[in-house]
Assembly symmetry: C2
Homo-oligomer: 350 residues x 2
């Protein structure tokens, strides 16, 4: 690396923060500088359990992390309902923002965050890790080949996992005051992103939820499915669920070819990942992509690279990442609205 | 075989009749007795090209096959619009009926056929070949295991293949006067059957087509998708298309396990077929099922076994098969109605 590592502060001791802490260490261009929790004891314990360097500070509040002048960027794995508050404060303090998905409860909320990041000149990125796996780029090469793959016709994307009783009673993802989007904002986020990715990020004209959503007593979605439609006939459907066996299948059909992947959200193995392709009247080909670093470390590396080019160079924040977050959130909003309106077709607005 | 072979008459020289002719020969309990075409020359040519036995008669009409006293059963691969006429006539002549799918243009039409078969005491079966593959039974064993698979949550079923220009202009499956259901009656029939099969043939309460149907200028469906919903939360979605690459994937999610198959309609290899299963936090298991006879021969064998037990024994026609046809047709009808009504949710009536 040409420049000094980007120093991260972490807001909260969420379980996913363990994975990200390791990713920061592995990335090669980032370092852990601080962690804050509402409980100083928890922050100290988290730092110790996750092998934080001696130099890392533990704080008894999120605000203290933002006040730490040695922190370049923050990773925010807080419940979605707290994103606006803490992402905006972080941006105002000049901290770059790596924000857990779903980034917000609605595009309106997200726009407050993105507006603040833009005016503060800080980089914004959400944590859709699989975007950064080299497999993702190789799969895109196949989809971009108008001879072998042809034109995109449809995408099917799934992400389900069987939540246990404790999760369904206590996890923040089933609580209306913490993560009101439930499975749609959690697993559904990945499904929607994968469909947009396959469609070259063209926004669909409309979305419709299928009449099979399961909500808990508090109205939080535990399982749902939906279809997105484009003006030109492309269609993408997805199913996300806390109530079924683990499934992370994406199948993408073109006029000539097919792409299938069984673990797009997170490869079953850390250093290698597979996908398969089929081209008209040919046999199915299996592809294996190896990676030295896990996808979350590649994500941190890319984020830190962008931050470094702002901090040490004259670069402006890369707009690609906030744009992708906003498009994904726009579709999340449309699907949620379709569910709320009794499965009516809803225009996707942006 | 304990009894003499069941003698088949074939109505028409459709391409699929070649496959069925071979299946009759392979079945071990059936034989080809006659073929009829509107053109005697075509019938003679078909018999010669497909190696029919010397004893087989070629006729210049469908009616002549039905009048042949040596014919026990007819295989009818005629365009769907002709099914009522010829299946009813066949039944009246006491011929057992093996009918190509889609069996009819609507349940009302099918009921005319089934009523005639019942009053004439002849066996009825449609040609959903994959039902007869031993893999299908092994997959069902997995789905029936409430410990490993758990309760069914969702089914996704696909059948697409890329039709060429000639097909899209001239095939009977795109002609409103011949096969008005288009891809829904053709490929969609298999998708719907697979979902019903996974749901133990419980009929869904409702169906909704997704707003992505592609119709040709004559109003025949070339591509569509739909979801079926059960009262208890089970859901089955499917996509059928003449406009995308070959895909025959079915994925069935339970609370604990997953079943995936990539060629459910017709195995890529004739004598072996695979499927994979996944059970909660375990790895994916691949299963291989071998078969001496191709699925279409096993279908003919089962049909002929039932016919023989009526002809040579005291058995009544097996009601399972007409019931499955009728349930499948009922769902086809509901999906078609949903498309016609602008993608409204439609109750499945039976």
């Amino acid at each position: 690396m040409a420049s000094a590592p980007i120093k991260f502060g972490i807001l909260g001791c969420a379980k996913i923060a363990r994975k990200l802490s390791r990713a920061i260490v592995l990335s090669g261009n980032a370092a852990i500088a601080a962690i804050g929790s509402r409980s100083l004891e928890k922050a100290v314990g988290f730092a110790r359990e996750n092998g934080f360097p001696e130099s890392a500070r533990a704080y008894g509040s999120y605000a203290a992390v933002l006040d730490d002048p040695d922190v370049d960027a923050v990773y925010i794995p807080l419940p979605t309902s707290l994103h606006v508050q803490w992402a905006v404060l972080a941006a105002r303090k000049g901290k770059h923002v790596l924000l857990e998905k779903p980034v917000a409860l609605s595009v309106s909320e997200l726009d407050v965050i993105l507006g603040e990041c833009e005016s503060s000149g800080v980089q914004f990125m959400d944590t859709t890790m699989w975007m950064h796996h080299p497999r993702t780029h190789q799969m895109k090469d196949f989809l971009s080949d108008s001879t072998t793959f042809g034109q995109l016709k449809s995408v099917e994307s799934n992400f389900s996992f069987p939540a246990d009783k404790a999760f369904l009673e206590n996890d923040i993802r089933v609580k209306p005051d913490l993560d009101a989007l439930g499975v749609l904002g959690d697993a559904g986020w990945y499904c929607i992103r994968s469909i947009l990715w396959a469609a070259d990020y063209d926004l669909p004209k409309s979305a419709v939820a299928l009449p099979d959503a399961v909500l808990n007593d508090a109205g939080v979605v535990l399982s749902c499915s939906a279809e997105l439609q484009w003006q030109d006939g492309r269609a993408g459907s997805f199913r996300c669920s806390f109530l079924a066996d683990l499934n992370m299948d994406v199948t993408i059909l073109g006029t000539n070819g097919t792409l299938s992947v069984h673990d797009y959200v997170g490869p079953f193995q850390e250093n290698r990942a597979t996908f398969s392709t089929h081209v008209k009247s040919g046999s199915v080909l299996e592809h294996t992509v190896t990676t030295e670093l896990p996808q979350e470390a590649l994500m941190v590396r890319e984020f830190s690279r962008l931050v470094a080019s702002i901090k040490f160079g004259a670069a402006k924040p890369e707009k690609k990442w906030p744009t992708l977050s906003r498009k994904t959130q726009a579709v999340v909003d449309a699907v949620k609205m379709s569910i709320d309106r009794g499965y009516k077709i809803v225009d996707v607005t942006y």
